[in-house]
């Protein structure tokens, strides 16, 4: 018995040592996938894969197609499928309350990586997995004085636009989503209107009261109203749409994308005066 215990002990320590050393000697050739190599996937696209037939999950800003793994997962399928087509980081970090998935599960998950989660403006929704935590903190510190709060910074960003009539557009994936027109008088916005407002084939300007997406149209109209007579630097307030619009979750909880309107207005300013007053 003593000999067996001693032999098992030595064999155990030797096995561990072998595993660690083999890994140390061969581990360097493993590459991690960089964010920019990944296909961009929006929340809407993600939501289309919410069943056992096709189960995508967004975890820490990346999207995984785990359809093939679902039958092998030890947890009941029902629980697992609940998270399909959704942002599932919370479920991943809490296998049981407070217990994250293991490093092994993490490695297995990487095999099912298919893309990164982005918002409608193609901006990542969460820092990439490869981004060091320090960078996130730095960026947050930089955002503490956003153009929305700092008039001088806003002026510096916009230069000194001349008074006149302006037109500009925000385009994504080959189609115009926002097209605006406005006048500048003494650096103040007047007559802001949408020439075009559409997303995924829906023409928002043609919507009528009672339509499902009508509240989104109202949000945009409210933006135009609130910016009327405001200094041009006020557009940066749209980075925080709640400061301009009453209801930012007009449509099924989706947050208003004020950035698209900023983009269209800045596009107009960049193009220069469209017509002199």
């Amino acid at each position: 018995m003593n000999k067996i215990a001693y032999s098992a002990f030595i064999a155990f320590v030797a096995s561990l040592f072998t595993l660690v050393s083999v890994n140390a000697l061969s581990g360097s050739d493993r590459e991690t996938v960089e964010d920019f190599d990944l296909e961009s996937i929006t929340m809407e696209e993600l939501a289309e894969h919410g069943s056992a037939e096709s189960c995508w999950k967004a975890i820490h800003g990346r999207v995984y197609d785990i359809t093939d793994y679902v039958p092998d997962h030890p947890t009941e399928e029902e629980v697992l499928l609940e998270w399909c087509g959704r942002e599932s980081t919370e479920g991943w970090d809490n296998k049981r309350p407070g217990v994250p998935h293991s490093p092994r599960a993490e490695a297995m998950l990487e095999r099912y990586l298919i893309g990164r989660l982005v918002d409608d403006t193609a901006e990542p929704l969460e820092p990439g997995a490869g981004e060091p935590a320090g960078a996130v903190v730095e960026r947050q510190a930089g955002e503490a004085t956003s153009p929305a709060q700092d008039e001088r910074l806003a002026r510096a960003l916009l230069g000194l636009p001349l008074d006149g009539h302006y037109r500009g557009a925000f385009t994504d994936r080959g189609s115009i989503q926002v097209n605006v027109t406005f006048d500048l008088r003494d650096g103040h916005i007047e007559s802001l209107a949408y020439r075009h407002l559409a997303y995924r084939g829906v023409d928002y300007l043609a919507l009528e009261e009672g339509d499902e997406l009508y509240p989104v149209m109202l949000q945009h109209r409210q933006i135009a109203e609130r910016l009327e007579g405001a200094p041009v630097t006020r557009i940066f307030a749209l980075y925080e749409p709640e400061s301009l619009v009453d209801d930012i979750d007009g449509y099924s909880g989706a947050t208003l994308r004020g950035a698209k309107v900023i983009s269209a207005i800045r596009d107009a300013l960049n193009r220069g005066v469209y017509a002199w007053p």
Binding site: A5, S15, L16, L19, N23, P74, R104
Partner: protein
């Protein structure tokens, strides 16, 4: 003949399997690709390993009477030893299986599974438990030579640390915590009892007389200061002498068999000079105090109560039979016939001979045969048959030096006597 397992064993198996039974439905099956069945093996061995560790702790409680459903303290101690051994092996299988289960994912994942970032404290608690386990088991399994008894005993207390870390590790990772709370409280509670409460509850006795039986053998006659203990024939106690003039072993506890009948108002203990502590006791001063803890053991456990008994005793191993004979001599009526063979080298070393002769003459159901190695050589089947023709049909109890024990076991097994009918209680390293 199929006999039911002992009550204690059955209870132990039920408790041992409890955490596994509770967790099993969640663990999936032992099928599928290697990473899945290796994970299953890793978890099952982990659960069983920790349960065994905690039960090893539980059975070490040494509460008088607790050992009897297990067939006596010596057997319980062997169970404790086996549980500890199995736990040690299983826990290493647990670690390796879970590490290997991650290899199909990647080597990085395998190493990260076993040595995760410090934030995953639960895994590191498991490692701490393992390190503590190596510390207290290394001397037990003679990794680095045989340790000094008292130092081994102190080092063995590290087991409490191992249990604590192991339990914490499991509570953080297990799906269902309640079986672990149950076993954890039982295991750690037993150690706390053993080391904290039990020493306060020893019974004080005063040495009334030190009777010299032969060179290197004395019988201590102890008078209880309080109510004393109540014992059965063949049981033993832990004795802690407090005589300040003792050269060794003062305040240390050692096991000794009780040689007096249960009805005797005095506790008589035969002690042979076998080590430092028992050597010092040969000259212990009368009227000094000793502390007694017990009684323990189940030497005269009856598994075939209808059969007559054969007692084979030699050396200081004669003491349980002395207690048995004195019990008969004190008027206890035997329900079966008893025949004692007293094995000694020569008349000088047969120090209880007179008393046996006297009792055998008085008590009808008790026969006694003296066997001298000097005259007859080792005990033979022919000698036994000559003095007790039906010896192979009896339930047999033997006690003596290890060499004699092994020799007699072999002799009896060769006669076709089933091992279940041969009782022997060896307490080495108790």
């Amino acid at each position: 003949m199929l006999r039911l397992p002992r009550l204690g064993d059955s209870a132990l198996i039920v408790v041992l399997l409890l955490p596994l039974a509770v967790a099993l439905p969640r663990l999936g099956g032992l099928s599928g690709p290697p990473e899945l069945w290796l994970t299953w093996v890793g978890r099952v061995t982990g659960i069983l390993g920790l349960a065994m560790m905690l039960l090893a702790g539980l059975v070490s409680c040494r509460v008088p009477g607790f050992d009897r459903p297990f067939g006596g303290l010596a057997r319980l101690w062997r169970l404790h030893h086996w549980l500890g051994f199995a736990a040690f092996i299983l826990i290493m299988v647990h670690v390796l299986a879970l590490g290997l289960a991650a290899v199909p994912a990647s080597l990085d994942a395998a190493v990260a599974t076993l040595f995760p970032p410090p934030s995953q404290g639960a895994i590191w608690l498991g490692w701490l438990a393992w390190v503590a386990m190596v510390v207290f088991l290394a001397p037990t399994f003679d990794f680095f030579g045989k340790p000094h008894y008292q130092r081994w005993k102190r080092l063995h207390l590290v087991s409490a640390v191992a249990l604590l870390f192991g339990l914490w590790h499991a509570l953080l990772l297990a799906g269902e915590a309640w079986p672990w709370w149950l076993l954890g409280i039982a295991g750690l509670g037993a150690i706390a009892w053993r080391k904290g409460v039990a020493p306060q509850r020893r019974h004080p006795y005063r040495i009334e007389q030190v009777v010299s039986l032969a060179r290197g053998v004395v019988e201590l006659v102890l008078r209880p200061e309080g109510s004393g203990i109540r014992h059965a024939v063949g049981q033993f106690v832990y004795l802690t002498p407090l005589d300040e003039r003792l050269a060794a072993g003062r305040g240390e506890e050692h096991p000794y068999t009780i040689a007096s009948a249960p009805s005797d108002s005095r506790l008589r203990i035969g002690i042979k000079d076998l080590g430092d502590a028992s050597h010092a006791l040969q000259t212990v001063m009368p009227e000094t105090r000793v502390l007694i803890e017990g009684p323990y053991g189940e030497f005269f456990e009856r598994r075939f109560p209808q059969r007559d008994m054969l007692w084979l005793g030699g050396g200081i191993g004669i003491t349980p039979f002395v207690a048995g004979a004195r019990n008969l001599g004190a008027g206890s009526v035997p329900d079966v016939h008893v025949h004692l063979f007293y094995l000694a080298n020569n008349p000088d070393r047969a120090y209880y001979r007179q008393e046996f002769c006297e009792i055998a003459a008085r008590v009808e159901g008790f026969a006694y045969t003296q066997h001298y190695h000097r005259d007859h050589g080792p005990l033979t089947e022919a000698f036994l048959r000559e003095h007790r023709p039906d010896f192979a049909e009896r339930e047999i109890y033997l006690c003596g030096p290890p060499g004699m024990n092994a020799y007699l076991q072999r002799l009896l097994i060769e006669q076709g006597i089933p091992a279940a009918r041969i009782h022997s209680e060896v307490f080495d390293f108790l």
